[in-house]
């Protein structure tokens, strides 16, 4: 019969159309923005800087090593190292970035900066509505806009953040154990030295 192929195709579209009233898998349209698809954990949009604790300046993990700046393919990161050191969240004096700018109109979300950071200081965010009315500077995020807390990081990437936190905590514990062992060894050595000098007569004869 002429047109048989077309009619078979129309039967297919009819099955899809009427089926969408009865079966969920045929009705795939999501009425964005009232409805949203469930967020996917691994998604990435643009980088942000992680800080521990409450104060974003005090707790920022970034030590301005500038590795991410060198490895960034489109060169969208601009860092100026500070002149002085300040104690970080663990109390250790570190350099910090006096300037940390990311131009998100250039950033291509390739995530290489996250991969190469040795301090877990820069991670990928998931926010996508970052449009701005200002063409020059509206899309240049400075370190204050980039700084987000570790709790936020845990809320957007729970599995990844839990692994990072566990690793950092283990590293911190290891450093503390090492410091404690070193302190104990030092105090033992001091005590031994004191005992030895006490046992010996004073050099130079009694006064």
């Amino acid at each position: 019969m002429v047109g048989e192929g077309i009619l078979k195709g129309m039967a297919e579209t009819a099955r899809n159309f009427f089926g969408s009233y009865f079966r969920k898998d045929r009705l795939t349209t999501v009425q964005y923005p009232e409805q949203r698809d469930p967020p996917i954990e691994a998604a990435r949009s643009f980088p942000f800087l992680v800080y521990d604790g409450e104060d974003w300046q005090q707790g920022m993990r970034c030590v301005a090593c500038q590795i991410c700046e060198k490895e960034c393919p489109p060169k969208c990161i601009f860092i100026e190292k500070s002149k002085d050191k300040k104690p970080d969240a663990n109390g250790k004096p570190q350099f910090f970035p006096a300037t940390f700018n990311i131009d998100i109109s250039v950033c291509m979300s390739c995530q290489i900066c996250v991969e190469v950071c040795p301090f877990d200081a820069i991670k990928m965010d998931v926010v996508t509505d970052l449009s701005s009315g200002d063409r020059f500077g509206g899309l240049l995020l400075d370190r204050q806009r980039l700084a987000k807390s570790d709790q936020y990081y845990n809320s957007i990437h729970p599995t990844e953040a839990a692994a990072v936190d566990a690793r950092l905590a283990a590293e911190r514990a290891r450093q503390e154990a090492k410091a404690k062992a070193a302190a104990e060894a030092k105090s033992a050595a001091d005590a031994k030295l004191a005992a030895v000098t006490q046992a010996q007569p004073e050099i130079g004869g009694p006064r």
């Binding site: 700046e69 060169k75 601009f78 700018n101 020059f136």
Partner: protein
């Protein structure tokens, strides 16, 4: 698929051709055969049509820019100075002219072997940039040779339609050369590095702009 055997077969089939084996130090083991421009088409036809070879797929045609080098060295030589033979030190500058190279990667669809790599070089980068086109042998070289003409400046003799491919027709200069200087059209570069930073600072010192 032995490159030495192929070289001897080609030398037998195309008398007078000068072939040179170029070793490839990387683990890929893809050694190449440098061919001279005068016999290139004959060698290519043999590679395509000889019953044992049958390289009918010209997969990739690449252009490479090898810029010239200037080396200065101190040379001691004897010279007649004021009537006496003296040993004099002179600065001798040697200039290697540099060349543009075209590399062809060939495969065989019929015999399912390959790749074989052919190389052709121009004499220098300024006036003597003519090479024979292999488009009459493999049609797939047509657009790729046009691209090499556009981006490197190699003129292919015998190409049916040699004009620019990616740049617009009135464009001057050849962008993929190592000494190409791009137009100075930076507008707003907030995270400038290296060359861009140098240009941005130059703009600032010249006054005006961001």
């Amino acid at each position: 698929m032995n490159l030495e055997a192929i070289k001897s077969e080609l030398e037998a089939a195309v008398p007078g051709c000068r072939l040179e084996l170029v070793a490839n130090p990387s683990p890929s083991g893809q050694h190449s055969l440098r061919i001279d421009s005068a016999h290139a088409v004959a060698v290519a036809l043999t590679l395509r049509d000889a019953p044992g070879l049958r390289f009918d797929l010209c997969s990739n045609v690449t252009g490479i820019d090898w810029p010239g080098k200037q080396t200065t060295e101190k040379v001691k030589l004897h010279k007649l100075v004021d009537g006496t033979q003296q040993e004099v030190e002179e600065l001798r500058t040697t200039t290697t002219p540099g060349s543009l190279e075209v590399v062809y990667h060939l495969f065989s669809i019929e015999k399912k072997h390959g790749p074989i790599v052919l190389r052709m070089s121009t004499i220098d980068r300024d006036a003597n940039v003519h090479l024979p086109s292999l488009t009459p042998v493999w049609r797939s070289a047509e657009l790729q040779e046009r691209e090499i003409f556009d981006l490197f400046g190699v003129v292919f003799d015998g190409h049916p339609d040699l004009r620019r491919l990616l740049m617009w027709d009135e464009f001057v200069d050849h962008p993929m050369r190592r000494d190409y200087v791009g137009p100075d059209d930076y507008e707003y570069e907030p995270t400038a590095h290296d060359e861009v930073l140098r240009r941005a600072n130059q703009h600032l010192s010249e006054g005006g702009g961001r």
